[in-house]
Symmetry: C2
Subunit: 117 residues, 2 copies
DNA sequence: TTATCAGTTGAGCAATCATTCAACTATAAT
DNA sequence: ATTATAGTTGAATGATTGCTCAACTGATAA
């Protein structure tokens, strides 16, 4: 994800435009965080997991059955989602129950589905 | 992005949960479209381009200068964004002016930034 | 204690992807 | 016509990523 700061290969054509846009531009770090957030929604498996958890909490096996995938694959993805603070987990006995960290996740979904349809 | 239909490696633990969730589950194609949409936001360069275009229309050179990248790199990304119907372009003389395809893009942004901050 | 099952983890692999580079098109200026 | 500039394109490359596999942890059941 790291990006070096390369030189551009052309002259400014509309200096005022560039200046104006740059003025309000969020910091690189903000864009990184934003991209990292959307990365979590940028994969069919993760998006399906998130959708499933937006209906109710589920354990890893349930999700694996639902999506027809291995526990390992699901667990790996849940790890990323946990890292991104999108899901929380709760170990009860042998099982681990996952649920959405907050309902802002649902809102992001909604916006997306609106656009897609 | 294609995904084969592999077998899961465990028994159902909560059959009712799985059934219930599966019942309202959107089709795979829907999730694919959603993931593809978010993929466009899942990269710092693209997200910065989209943000820039959400302020005003810009030509490729302007964007290249703004982001300190080559025209080629920018052009490649604009191509993806055009393919995803997120930007439109308008050739005027030697320059090509890009702008957002519609303002739903901005709304998606807003949701994202809300979450990140 | 031993066996079993839920879940995690790390290495490895194949696929995807962002950028570079060089060659190209098209428009404008001389 | 020639030259210069804006932009596009395709191949090549290095990095990232999603899944598999096998080994592991830790809790329950026998």
């Amino acid at each position: 994800m790291q990006r070096k700061t390369p030189l551009c290969d052309c002259e400014v054509i509309h200096e005022e435009v560039v200046k104006r846009v740059r003025k309000n531009m969020p910091k690189e770090a903000e864009f990184c965080k934003l991209a990292d957030l959307y990365k979590m929604f940028a994969d069919t498996t993760r998006v399906r997991i998130l959708w499933a958890l937006s209906s109710e909490e589920m354990c890893v096996c349930d999700i694996a059955v639902l999506l027809g995938m291995t526990k390992s694959a699901i667990s790996h993805q849940l790890r990323s989602l946990r890292f991104a603070n999108l899901v929380k987990y709760d170990k009860r006995g042998k099982e681990v129950y996952y649920s959405l960290a907050d309902n802002r996740v649902k809102e992001i979904f909604k916006k997306g589905f609106e656009h897609v349809r």
